[in-house]
Amino acid sequence: MADSTRIRLNFRKSLGGFTLAVDCVLEEKVSAFLGVSGSGKSTLLNCISGTLTPDEGQIAFGDEILYDSTAKINLPPEKRRFGYVFQEGHLFPHLTVAQNIRYGQPNPRKSSDAIDVLEISELLQRYPKELSGGQRQRVAIARALAMEPRMLLMDEPLASLDSTLKDRIIPYLHHVKNAFEIPILYVTHTFSEAMALADEAFLIADGVIIANGEPHRLLTAPSAMPIAQLTGVENTLFLPVTLSDEAHGVTSLKIGDQSLVIPYTDVEVGDIVPVAVRAEDIIISLEPDLPVSARNILRGKIQCLDVKSERTWLSILVEWHHLAVKITHEAREQMQLREGLEVYCVIKASAINRLWD
């Protein structure tokens, strides 16, 4: 990203016993903030958008200071020109889709490109209550884009949608990313969304950034186990395709010398496919030859074992990939699991999700 659109955040905000304190620079086109609910993600966006005033610090967009507690600068939200997509959409219920989109448009007579990118031209005459959840979020995104913002802030725009709908909206977010030359700050608690869209990721917990970096590096490293626990997921692997068999409905990926079978996906042999597996969807076995229907039994070694209050977390080295696995204490004790032990990871093909790339 050019310097003129780089955003610098260095501020503090206390809200009812909770404190958000950030100090970071967003360098890439799409930055994701990943954290559980209550970690301060919405507070962060509200401070950036100007609907909430920090207690102290500075917020800058390129050379422009948006907020500075010592210089007593606090640009009101209407002067910041940051498009804000809310989790619940927050469409104006008394206005039609077209009127919602025109609301912030600098030239309301011109039709916005956002209408085409998000494919909502059919919906323009409807009222928000006549829209489905997915349509509502597309309109909310279009409304934020139509104001021709300098930056797009997205607060869990997919959180209120079910997983099928999410998969349908993510391609639209890709269109947005490619069609509009503005930085995007994307806040989510879902690992796969951050993986699918972001160029850089920040992990936020209890109001503090605990790690940042390139999304798949950051989130697949062994050190990321606490992060996996934090975000409720998950293992992400970038694996080459060895076989794609539409007739049998399977695609095979190569993981070292072993193979991983996933539900059929439209890819070519040799493509690299990003896939995700939740830590609790992996079963640990001491035997390789189990009479089970699961298609994947991967050999690996327990590299580290972390006993938490509710569950035991294992980091298992499969070839050179680390898999985070969540099991009960009871299972750990009965199976006498320990670091260095050779184990088998049993994974149903359908528990492996292809991520967007």
Partner: protein, 221 residues
């Protein structure tokens, strides 16, 4: 049913006064309602208590306090008398002021209820879309609060039409000048003009019921 010119005069005075009062109080009511519904500031509870007090005070007490304030030697009345030579007490202006004070809490209540129902998130969303606070008020808050605003307006208006206690204290009961519907019913009863009482009571009742019905229609779905 034959209505006498005196009764027509009383009825039209009531309507005229209620309309004038509405024109005067509505903008103030919007501002006060917005402050009470959407803002926090020192003295908010005091402002709320002050605005709402005519609702719980006996109207005759509100009227008496107004009489003291607006009289020739009163704080406000004295100033106006000395500056403009105008005497407020026992004038039609006094009627308008009296009914305004008494109906104002009802108007504000409706506006506050309406505006409180508008989520602050929608207003913030409008701000991020480039709207100034004034534009947010006109395009988001007011249209979404319209049920409460209309409800409060109708209730306040009908209260104004029938106000009695405060009016008689500050404006007297002068036929053709300050004698409104309610006051002429009072006089008619005293003079034993039963037929006139029936007609006036009938008209008042109809007006009250229509107002209440309209309020319900606009405030309830």
């Amino acid at each position: 049913m034959k209505i006498t010119p005196a009764e027509v005069a009383a009825l039209s005075l009531s309507i005229k006064v209620a309309l004038l009062s509405l024109v005067m109080t509505f903008p103030v009511g919007l501002l006060v309602g917005w402050l009470l519904a959407k803002r926090t500031f020192p003295g908010k509870t005091f402002l709320n208590t002050l605005v709402m007090s005519p609702l719980v005070l006996p109207p005759i007490v509100s009227g008496y306090l107004l009489l003291i304030l607006l009289g020739k030697h009163g704080f406000i009345g004295g100033f106006i008398y000395q500056t403009f030579g105008i005497e407020i007490i026992f004038s039609q202006l006094a009627v308008v002021i009296a009914v305004s004070i008494i109906s104002f809490p009802l108007l504000v209540r409706g506006i506050v209820t309406g505006m409180e129902s508008v989520p602050v998130e929608l207003e913030n969303a409008a701000r991020t879309l480039g709207a100034s606070p004034v534009k947010v008020f006109i395009t988001i808050t007011l249209p979404l609060a319209y049920r409460g605003v209309i409800g409060g307006t109708i209730l306040g208006f009908s209260k104004s039409l029938g106000e009695f206690g405060a009016t008689i204290m500050v404006a007297g009961n002068i036929p053709g000048k300050t004698q409104t519907m309610a006051l002429s019913i009072f006089s008619a009863v005293h003079l034993g003009e039963d037929a006139s009482v029936y007609r006036l009571v009938f008209i008042s009742t109809i007006v009250a019921f229509v107002a209440l019905w309209l309020t319900e229609r606009f405030t309830l779905r």
